[in-house]
Symmetry: C2
Subunit: 382 residues, 2 copies
């Protein structure tokens, strides 16, 4: 079953992203968005969800043409929970009733375990870095992937040292073509590299947020005032911990090695930091914090980072309309707001609105705000 | 010098927050806002900054009536860097030329070391939990403290086991009255308790953010793609690390014991977590993440938390006017936006706008957004 490799035997819709017949399995945010995006580009899309109600909703919302399997499908996107991907993919790839050799890809947040478990030349591991696991079909959007990063993980013959059937190049080319046609920016990363890197920037930070939140909640059992002292920084750092925890045991199990490695590194870094604080090493602390500050300011927000970003901080009352007033002032001036957040006072009806705006018009915006009674400070982030 | 205790010998402006003569030393965001707030309530305010240019700016912006000392001042707010507080406070309290016994308070983010170093009955340690250390005089606002939490740290005769002159009750009452008159919500906390709690919710989270950022930046030296994979969660968690590191060596030195204790606890928690991930303990991981999710959702944002908060997620393109459009729709409906942020795709011109709105009108807002072409999902946070 593994060695056929002839993914391009039937040319329809292959290699150039031209529309054909697709399957979408799992119709949450990502699956639903895929269905909408593919249909908008002329694909005929069938599919299903493990929950029949969600399958029906996907058809009603236009994410699927029809429910159910399609023996003539060229490609299948498996957008289920990570733990279900391998079984679904194998069933599709091994099904002898298929009219043509189907190419299968997935969207799970871990890649090595999934790619190794499927072990088929026409399986192309994928991970679109778009959307959020917290949002279901209701948030599905045909443009979700426009400009988003989409990791594809082709295999050259082994994963983490174990032999795995190499990815068929035409299968990879088909998936790459489709993903590109949806507007995504494709990055090819070996499965182990993907997993190692997302452990550092996603999995471990998420686990740390949950750990900080639990420590504070336990402290608050003894000192009820503790959480009233939690200001904007703490709220920012723990925000992801509010998400639905459902997929995390899967991600932790499938990416255990990289997460353990990255946690060990973090624990070691924190132990050094602890020693610096204990020893009163002001210079070492300042150097470490300055390095982090510079790195955070230069963190790329997207591939084509605007040439110049300016941060504008505006103290605002929490009242209706004040945001519309300020964002309206920006809009009137043609100043594009690149990022926005409110840093709340821990108490009371005050907030600090932090805007990151593009271009060189921040002084004009500041003046507009001043005329409307808002004091602001401006800082160049370029 | 220490034992006089007669803070109320001259009754002017004492105990009831009625206006008198104040000094503000240090004219950054907090000092400048204090000057504006006190002057707006009828106080005569003199003061200075270590930087003469900033003193001049404070006078020009209306934060000070006049530059310089005032021998007849009833109260002084020391809003300098933490490491300078004790010397400034002692100089004011010990000055034999003062016309009346001055009461001194401060705004530093650590309390035990400052209170012990000053050790005077007419010194009342304080910490307004408002604003941000990143913003200077330009962000000063007379209403900065309206509704904010303001910790005052009276001493009963010892700090961390060491004998310290007890705080004069009338001095405390004077500061409490003034702070309340500015609209702040006063919480009295022993200096050690304040320091222990802010280590948990502020100091250690800040240090962790810097550590995560540095680890990612170092990883990016080997894998340039790493930071392109950093999505909204990572950006949230490291945002505070972008702040100006200047005050942190002071805070770490002055609150070393509590920070080391809290870091030790965190390291121990992370080691347990690491073992759970390594052992594939899915149930333990899920339980831990569910606990954190529930705690984060119930994190009080302010004393009078709105009865009902709803989260509305709207995928939006990064274009001018879209924020004004959405916040305008909320404003038109009378829906108060309590919190707002953009979770960017790591690449490309797409974002996810996350609004937290008050009240029960979220379905109406969703409908309004739908009419304007925006799909959204709604989640009850109550």
């Amino acid at each position: 079953v593994h060695g056929d490799g002839g993914a391009a035997a039937d040319g329809r819709g292959r290699g150039n992203g031209a529309p054909g017949r697709a399957l979408v399995v799992g119709t949450g945010l990502i699956g639903g968005s895929l269905g909408l995006a593919l249909r908008a580009r002329g694909w005929h899309v069938r599919g299903w969800d493990a929950d029949p109600d969600r399958t029906r909703e996907a058809v009603e919302s236009g994410a699927l043409d029809e429910p159910g399997d399609d023996p003539r499908a060229d490609v299948a996107f498996v957008a289920t929970a990570p733990s279900a991907v391998a079984a679904v993919a194998r069933r599709l790839l091994d099904d002898p009733r298929r009219a043509r050799p189907i190419v299968v890809t997935d969207v799970a947040g871990v890649k090595a375990s999934v790619v190794a478990a499927v072990g088929h030349p026409r399986f192309v591991g994928g991970h679109p870095m778009a959307g959020s696991e917290q949002v279901g079909l209701g948030g599905a959007d045909p443009d979700l992937f426009a400009g988003a990063l989409w990791v594809l993980s082709p295999v050259a013959g082994s994963v983490a040292g174990e032999p795995v059937t190499a990815t068929d190049l035409e299968a990879f080319s088909l998936v790459r073509g489709i993903v590109s046609s949806l507007g995504a920016d494709v990055v090819a990363l070996a499965p182990e590299d993907h997993d190692r890197l997302v452990a550092v920037v996603s999995h471990v930070p998420h686990l740390v947020a949950a750990t900080l939140m639990n420590a504070a909640a336990e402290g608050a059992e003894q000192d009820a005032v503790l959480l009233r002292l939690a200001a904007g920084g703490f709220r920012d750092m723990t925000r992801v911990a509010a998400g639905h925890p459902g997929i995390w045991p899967d991600l932790c199990a499938d990416n255990a090695d990289a997460i353990v490695h990255s946690l060990d590194r973090l624990i070691s870094d924190l132990a050094s930091l602890r020693d610096r604080v204990g020893a009163g090493d002001r210079r070492g602390l300042l150097e470490m914090l300055e390095r982090a500050s510079a790195a955070r300011r230069h963190l790329p927000a997207r591939g084509a980072r605007p040439e110049r970003l300016t941060e504008v901080r505006v103290p605002v009352p929490d009242r209706e309309g004040v945001l519309a007033e300020i964002t309206g002032a920006a809009s009137d001036l043609g100043v594009n707001i690149y990022d926005i957040e409110i840093a709340h006072s821990p108490e009371g009806p005050r907030g600090l609105l932090v805007l990151v705006v593009e271009g060189r018009d921040a002084p004009g915006l500041r003046e507009q705000l001043r005329r409307r009674g808002h004091r602001s400070t401006v800082q160049d982030l370029s």
